[in-house]
């Protein structure tokens, strides 16, 4: 029985270590600095949205939020589209070519983004993509395409080849087969990959930090990072920023939890 008590004990302690800080942040985002420091665990005296108004309007987190929405809304589907096209070809082509294309695309997973930043910065500079949302979309695409191909191509390869062949015997072209057979059948892995990409793109910090100059083009993580210097210990304000930046991902997590675990684990098992 001791083991059962130990088990419950460990789980309960760790649950507290996760829940308490998150609750403190949630409550704290409604407090003043004095109120937070006086009683970090207590409920806020009022649900005054002052900190939120300050970060959204005053610190322009609202426009950073929109920038993040725009970049993510384009880069996730774009990455999925290119990756599913490639994955589909890899599944249908045979022998060396299939292997070579898959290998070439997936090899990029071995190159960490930080290792590439100097030449990528130079290249983006020449192409006039620095300090633009388009540049961020492209950077997201480049950095996650390999893993997206890995997830989608890996899945599409496991679909029986007969499915594709049957439809090509009917005289259907590869494009129609892609749309009407490959994509619908791959829906679970596309959903998982979409979630994975959404989390990565939404939270991306390195590329905005490298490329973005004007405050108006900042995405959320970059805007948050700039708070760090300005509001050293104004934690309530930082917390309001944290809540805003996390909200879309958290809402998605509550409703699509299954796909989160599947997607983020698929991303992890690339090892």
């Amino acid at each position: 029985m001791l083991s059962s008590i130990t088990r419950r004990g460990i789980l309960a302690i760790y649950a507290v270590i996760i829940i308490v800080p998150l609750t403190v942040v949630g409550f704290g985002s409604f407090k003043s600095t004095q109120e937070l420091f006086a009683g970090p665990f207590s409920l806020p005296q009022s649900l005054s949205p002052g900190n939120y108004a300050e970060v959204i309007g005053g610190q322009d987190l609202g426009s950073s939020f929109m920038n993040s929405v725009i970049v993510t809304a384009i880069s996730v589907p774009l990455t999925l589209f290119l990756a599913s096209l490639a994955g589909y070809a890899v599944a249908r082509l045979k022998g060396f070519m299939s292997w070579a294309i898959f290998g070439f695309l997936v090899l990029g997973m071995a190159i960490p983004a930080q290792a590439n930043m100097v030449p990528l910065y130079v290249l983006f500079g020449r192409l006039g993509l620095l300090d633009s949302l388009a540049g961020l979309v492209l950077a997201n695409l480049v950095s996650t395409l390999p893993i997206a191909v890995f997830i989608l191509g890996g899945f599409m390869r496991t679909l029986p080849k007969e499915l594709y062949e049957a439809s090509s015997i009917d005289g259907t072209g590869p494009w129609r087969t892609y749309i009407s057979i490959a994509l619908p059948l791959s829906a679970p892995s596309i959903a998982a990959a979409a979630i994975f990409l959404f989390v990565i793109h939404w939270n991306e910090l390195l590329y905005p930090l490298l490329f973005i100059q004007s405050p108006g083009n900042r995405t959320l993580p970059l805007a948050l990072l700039s708070f760090q210097g300005e509001f050293q210990t104004n934690y309530p304000l930082l917390f309001a920023g944290v809540i805003l930046a996390s909200l879309p991902v958290v809402v998605a997590y509550v409703f699509l939890q299954r796909y989160f675990v599947a997607g983020i684990t698929a991303g992890a098992s690339k090892g």
Partner: protein, 320 residues
């Protein structure tokens, strides 16, 4: 036919539908591949070739120069940048040491801890499912958010950690955490484990659930205790999961760039500087050639550590 032998007919009677072997034969015969299929991977291949492969090759070229990123002229300086990194740049060797220490700490702590969580939550009871979702949760947050949460926990004057310790009468254990240069890296390692242990727990749970129950029942009948069962059934069976967890955690902690910048500011102080933040600072300092050389060392380090781990763990006999 099968009714005669009482076994399903394995051997194929003439005229029966084609089976897998026939498919193999057919594959060898020249099958028509619609040439249009080669167009499908083109966009992805072009993007990777132009924006990933080419820049990576260029990094090797820049690494041999003293280019500052702006002037048109630069000199090839051979391996000077690499020699400088290892022999004449205490900032770089400091970041390298910190990074290796950080990776070692996080890999050991996170692998161990995520396995414990997974062992405690293997069964699919309602409580387990709920707790898994909770423990997984931090992984979806942005590194900057996690950094801010923990900055507050670690705040020496107003922070949660010291408040809790003070509240239970353990003032002696209070610390300035990130303010203490000797400890700072350890505290960030704790944050990193809090951030991602739940993700690795999920990898382990998948591995644990694939272990056949009968093995434990058989072991129990043979009188094996829990520890013996773990040692001779669980651990060998989750070896593939361990190798995934270790490899992924390694890469993840090598790249803890966002978390460090969020928690320590940009640029981070020396006791929290790791390779990726050092490369960024060198780059921001307009030493493009030198930053490229540091990037290559960074890539080589990841490859080296990953390779060493595989050798040490001997977990992947098949190799990749």
């Amino acid at each position: 036919m099968s009714t005669h032998t009482g076994l399903p007919a394995k051997r194929k009677a003439p005229g029966s539908p084609p089976d897998v072997n026939d498919n193999k034969g057919r594959r060898r015969s020249p099958t028509r591949v619609n040439p249009a299929l080669y167009l499908f991977p083109l966009p992805a291949v072009a993007v990777i070739a132009f924006f990933l492969v080419m820049p990576t090759l260029q990094a090797f070229q820049y690494a041999l120069t003293d280019w500052n990123g702006f002037s048109a002229a630069f000199n090839y300086v051979g391996l000077d940048n690499f020699i400088r990194a290892f022999t004449n740049d205490s900032l770089f060797t400091n970041a390298l040491t910190n990074n290796l220490k950080f990776v070692l700490l996080v890999v050991i702590a996170q692998t161990f801890f995520s396995l414990i969580l997974a062992l405690l939550l293997t069964k699919n009871s309602r409580g387990s499912v709920l707790l898994r979702a909770l423990f997984f949760f931090p992984t979806i947050l942005s590194s900057v958010s996690v950094a801010f949460i923990w900055k507050f926990i670690y705040d020496p004057n107003f922070g949660l950690a010291n408040a809790v310790l003070g509240g239970v009468g353990l003032e002696a254990l209070q610390s300035s955490y990130l303010g203490n240069d000797a400890q700072a890296l350890y505290w960030v390692a704790v944050t990193q484990v809090w951030f991602h242990a739940g993700q690795m727990m999920v990898v382990y749970i998948a591995g644990l659930q694939a272990i056949p129950r009968e093995l434990y029942e058989a072991a129990e009948m043979d009188g094996a205790n829990k520890w013996q069962q773990f040692k001779s059934i669980t651990w060998p069976f989750v070896a593939p999961a361990t190798s995934i967890v270790v490899a992924y955690t390694t890469v993840q902690s090598f790249k803890a760039f966002d978390l460090i910048l969020g928690i320590a500011g940009n640029p981070p102080k020396q006791s929290l500087d790791i390779l990726s933040t050092r490369i960024y600072s060198t780059f921001a300092n307009s030493e493009f050639g030198y930053a490229a050389a540091q990037s290559i060392i960074f890539m080589a380090m990841i490859a080296l550590v990953t390779w060493l781990q595989r050798r040490l763990l001997r977990l992947t006999p098949k190799g990749e």
